[in-house]
């Protein structure tokens, strides 16, 4: 079991900065995120988009902000459980929480900070009537083990990077790969589009554009797909697997069933004090929370993280007094033995 002081659910900018603020208070942190990499929306949706309202950065790419945050928190050696979704929470007799992921990884901490942004990212499922019936029976929204598709027939749908990348990859693995996309143009990287075109010419990929998969066929497992083509009408293709890759969309997910007070898909918190939820010991910070006057900005999440960590400290050490220190005075002392502090001679010169 993973034990820590503050268990942070969500590794977006707010979750990452919480590691820093907790670290200043000598509190250990561990983060859980459903995505396979840290950064939340910034990494998943818009890593190459500039952000203009981060204090001190006239302009910074979302991906670079995440990289900087990772660098900033490195001395505090946070733990990560990535690619797993926090599923259940249980209050233990010692007043700590047990959080278990969908893969069964258990985490224990006296404080839980939900920094889940808009929720955990779930695959966007195309509106095919019986698609849910075939999940794990030939339909997969995420490719976990490409070997599953070795020497099998695969139909991929989508026009973004994932659809293109997996088409290219599986062209050498599967016995037959078909890529179905609604347009002739693709949203993915140009070199990937060119590679798919090349593989199509070589006969290694069957490319069907201006078409959509509308129907799934099979009994216990997918055996075929019905495709609606813009000009050619209905097409039937026999296949062993159907992999729709239309990106991810955030859903509040299991957190919504944890007994927390929810308002308009966000967690209600006490913002007059410490961003604690209706369950003592569970905090919600960043875009996932709501209160009167809430602004869903990264900078609000940073502020809330700092306040929350002070409160968490008092919860963990109720008898200890802690006075907030400025990093310009106290420096930053990492758990890895690193130390950053103002040069003493400079301080003397000022005095």
């Amino acid at each position: 079991m993973i034990k820590t002081d503050i268990l942070i659910i969500g590794a977006g900018p707010t979750g990452l900065f919480t590691v820093f603020e907790a670290g200043l208070l000598k509190l250990k942190t561990h983060l859980i995120d459903a995505l396979p990499q840290p950064g939340g929306q910034c990494s998943e949706i818009y890593p190459k988009k500039p952000i203009y309202d981060i204090p001190g950065f006239p302009e910074i790419l979302a991906g670079d902000l995440v990289n900087n945050l990772m660098e900033q928190i490195k001395p505090f050696e946070p733990g990560f459980t990535l690619g797993e979704r926090a599923e259940t929470i249980e209050k233990l007799e010692d007043d700590t929480f047990l959080v278990t992921t969908n893969k069964g990884t258990q985490h224990n901490a006296p404080v839980v900070a939900i920094a889940g942004g808009l929720g955990s990212f779930e695959p966007r499922k195309p509106p095919i009537p019986n698609i849910i019936d075939f999940e794990d029976k030939g339909v997969a929204y995420i490719i976990r083990d490409p070997e599953v598709y070795r020497d099998k027939r695969v139909v991929i749908a989508g026009g973004g990077d994932s659809a293109l990348d997996w088409t290219i990859f599986l062209a050498d693995v599967a016995s037959e790969v078909t890529l179905v996309h609604r347009r002739n143009e693709f949203r993915g990287a140009l070199d990937s589009v060119e590679r798919v075109a090349e593989l199509t010419k070589l006969g290694k990929v069957n490319l069907i554009t201006e078409a959509e998969v509308k129907e799934l066929k099979g009994d216990d497992h997918v055996t075929g797909v019905g495709i609606k083509h813009k000009t050619e009408g209905d097409i039937h293709l026999d296949t062993d697997y159907f992999i729709p890759l239309f990106g991810l969309s955030p859903k509040l997910g299991p957190i919504g069933n944890w007994g927390l007070e929810i308002e308009k898909n966000a967690i209600k918190v006490d913002n007059s004090y410490d961003y604690q939820t209706n369950i003592p010991g569970i905090y919600a910070i960043g875009d996932v929370n709501t209160y009167k006057g809430k602004l869903k900005l990264i900078l609000s999440g940073f502020h809330e993280a700092a306040i929350m960590c002070q409160s968490a400290y008092q919860r963990i050490f109720p008898d200890k007094k802690y006075v907030m220190k400025y990093t310009t005075v106290g420096g930053v002392e990492g758990f890895d033995g690193s130390k950053k502090e103002a040069k003493k001679e400079v301080v003397k010169a000022i005095v």
């Binding site: 929306q41 949706i45 818009y46 988009k49 808009l118 966007r124 195309p126 509106p127 989508g158 026009g159 973004g160 996309h181 609604r182 347009r183 143009e185 693709f186 949203r187 239309f246 990106g247 969309s249 955030p250 308009k264």
Partner: protein
Amino acid sequence: MSDVTIKIKDREGEIHEVQAPTDMAMNLMEVCKAYELPVEGTCGGMAMCASCQCYVLSDHKLPEMSQDEDLMLAEAFYVEDNSRLGCQIPITPELDGLEIELAPES
């Protein structure tokens, strides 16, 4: 402040007649959110999620579709010929009387 009137049909078929300001650099997605209509606007207005997809019902002249919007709609669900992303439609005086319908949630 000059406002325009926009009619928005929600996913239950109810029509909301809302006043949208033309001098606050708002877009249609933000207007929907301001009136607490069920529009997520997940990407914040970067044409990267299609959660603000709507069908344009009236024949108002709208801004040309950018490549970003076009390609996002190529991957969205429930897309029709009159689909647009609300976040890509700035509120201008020309939109007075615009009628839209929110596309199904996906």
